[in-house]
């Protein structure tokens, strides 16, 4: 491929469709915390997008960042609450009640087990801990909305009631204990801390919070299992005590939330390298995206196939295209075609 060609190919970058900035990119751009390539992609997008450009200008003004974080967490929660169909909520409620019962039975069982035999109990506890994630997670997940629901009106009336009833501080509270509200999570610690988000974030992640919980009673016998137990079910703790502590989950959550957007961004970045003819860099970047099981992972594999084909590594290219075909997604046909032509 001649230099001239790759240079020309760069011209198509002008019309690369690039997504709007995500929730973290706005502050990161303003604070100069983007990598060069990411920054360039952002600016390419800003050329077109009045929405993002205006958002940045507005955030540039002093003291807006905190309000931005709080309100965007609130609005996300609001959207989720208002789209949830009623039937699903009811199903959820029933499930919560059931799993709560199961939970208390479990605890009762362990109280008995501990009284019965010290050493044997400890052994069983280890067993229990090993099995815990499987048993606890389904229980922990749906329990959380219970707490959210207690502060939020049902979805039907949500639009109207929330508008008039909910005060500003209520939104983050509702947002806090939700397990699935990934993005809404960061401001959660704000309520108890009543401080700026920056302060809460900067604080070292605390160990599992020690809140009063029925789990404590049996746990006096063995300390380590207790801590692990609480760590495993922070959501349950929150739901029971109704006081969301600045627990471990919030700092962990943003990672999963942005993973999607970040992957897409990384994909675009890899594409830039590919378009510029730097196949090796592009390949190494696409490879990192193959762990993504969604559309980005599929596209990355497809592009890997293209890169390998360009490098005349037909065996590898074939393998990639085959994987794409196996994923049975939107690129299946294109991959099959590429395979046929190889």
């Amino acid at each position: 491929m001649s230099d001239n060609f790759t240079h020309n190919e760069k011209l198509l970058k002008i019309f690369a469709g690039i997504r709007c900035l995500n929730k973290d990119q706005l502050p990161r751009y303003l604070e100069g915390r983007l990598t060069d390539i990411e920054k360039h992609l952002v600016e390419q997008h800003l050329v077109d997008c009045d929405l993002c450009y205006e958002a940045l200008q507005s955030l540039q003004k002093e003291g807006q960042m905190e309000q931005y974080q709080t309100l965007s967490a609130g609005i996300q929660q609001y959207i989720r609450d208002s789209i949830k169909p009623v039937s699903q909520l009811q199903k959820m409620e029933r499930y919560i009640r059931k799993s709560k019962k199961r939970e208390s039975l479990l605890i009762y069982f362990w109280v008995v087990a501990f009284i019965a035999g010290g050493g044997a109990g400890l052994y069983l506890m280890q067993e229990y801990n090993r099995n815990k994630p499987v048993m606890a997670r389904p229980a922990a997940l749906p329990i959380v909305p219970a707490a959210a629901m207690s502060t939020t009106p049902p979805p039907d009336s949500a639009r109207h009631q929330e508008a008039s009833l909910a005060d500003k501080s209520e939104i983050p509270v509702a947002a806090a204990p939700r397990k699935d509200t990934v993005k809404a999570a960061p401001p959660a610690p704000q309520k108890p801390a009543a401080d700026s988000i920056v302060v809460t974030r900067a604080a070292p992640t605390p160990p599992a919070p020690k809140t009063e919980d029925s789990v404590k009673k049996p746990a006096t016998a063995a300390n380590t299992p207790k801590e692990e137990k609480e760590k495993d079910t922070p959501a349950t703790t929150v739901a029971k005590t109704q006081a969301p502590p600045p627990a471990t989950p919030p700092p962990a959550k943003p990672a999963t939330s942005t993973a999607m957007d970040t992957d897409e961004f990384l994909y675009k970045a890899a594409m830039v390298y590919q378009q510029q003819g730097d196949l090796n860099e592009a390949i190494s970047r696409y490879k990192r995206l193959t762990s993504n099981t969604g559309r980005v992972g599929e596209l990355a594999r497809y592009q890997l196939g293209i890169c390998y084909r360009e490098k005349k590594q037909n065996g590898r290219a074939r393998r990639m295209f085959k994987e794409v075909v196996r994923m049975d997604g939107s690129m299946k046909q294109a991959a099959q075609q590429a395979l046929d032509n190889l």
Partner: protein, 191 residues
């Protein structure tokens, strides 16, 4: 389900929300842009203390939700931006959104570029067309476009070089780009 919807493009979400009346798809779409909506609205709380987020956001979202079902949306960012603007201009009246000519031309060209990514012949043709369109720009516009897209210069870098504000650099690039998109769109129809 929610997680799967998050992987969909705006276009797919819009079509699900419209055709299948999929509320979750609508929610994912609105959520995707909610932080930008918040950021753009922030000055209104400052400039107008009577504005309350608890009323503003629900009514804005309602308006977006209404128009999502009735209007043709090509670029979600433009749709949201225009809806916010028209809301502040007249909070009582819902003005329908129409995609701008600019947005249509750009989208058209973006789609062509995306398709050409796997088709060498089409790609070559497209590159030739962009080159031709580029040569029709003024010297300054062409300089900016080339420095920005080909040499990876930043807004601030170009601003310093030209003695402009970054705002002006962005404006010039935006105009130059829409001129290019318009020419490319016209070229395809003429062909």
């Amino acid at each position: 389900m929610y997680q799967q919807l998050r992987n969909l493009s705006d276009k797919e979400l819009i079509s699900r929300a419209r055709k299948l009346k999929d509320r979750e798809a609508e929610g994912v779409l609105l959520e995707r842009y909610s932080h930008l909506l918040v950021a753009v609205c922030l000055p209104s709380f400052r400039n107008n203390p009577g504005t309350n987020p608890q009323t503003l956001f629900p009514s804005l979202l309602q308006r977006l939700s209404n128009s999502l079902k009735t209007q043709t949306i090509q670029k979600a960012n433009e749709w949201i931006h225009q809806t916010i603007k028209s809301y502040f201009a007249n909070p009582e009246k819902q003005v329908p959104y129409y995609p701008s000519r600019d947005a249509r031309d750009q989208l058209h060209t973006e789609n062509r570029v995306e398709k050409a990514a796997t088709n060498t012949i089409e790609k070559q043709a497209l590159i030739a067309q962009v080159q031709k369109a580029l040569s029709g720009l003024s010297t300054e516009d062409r300089f900016l476009v080339e420095q920005f897209y080909l040499e990876n210069q930043t807004f601030t870098g170009l601003a310093a070089q030209k003695g402009y504000t970054t705002e002006k650099v962005r404006q010039l690039l935006k105009k130059a780009k829409s001129r290019l998109a318009m020419q490319l769109t016209n070229q395809t129809y003429v062909r």
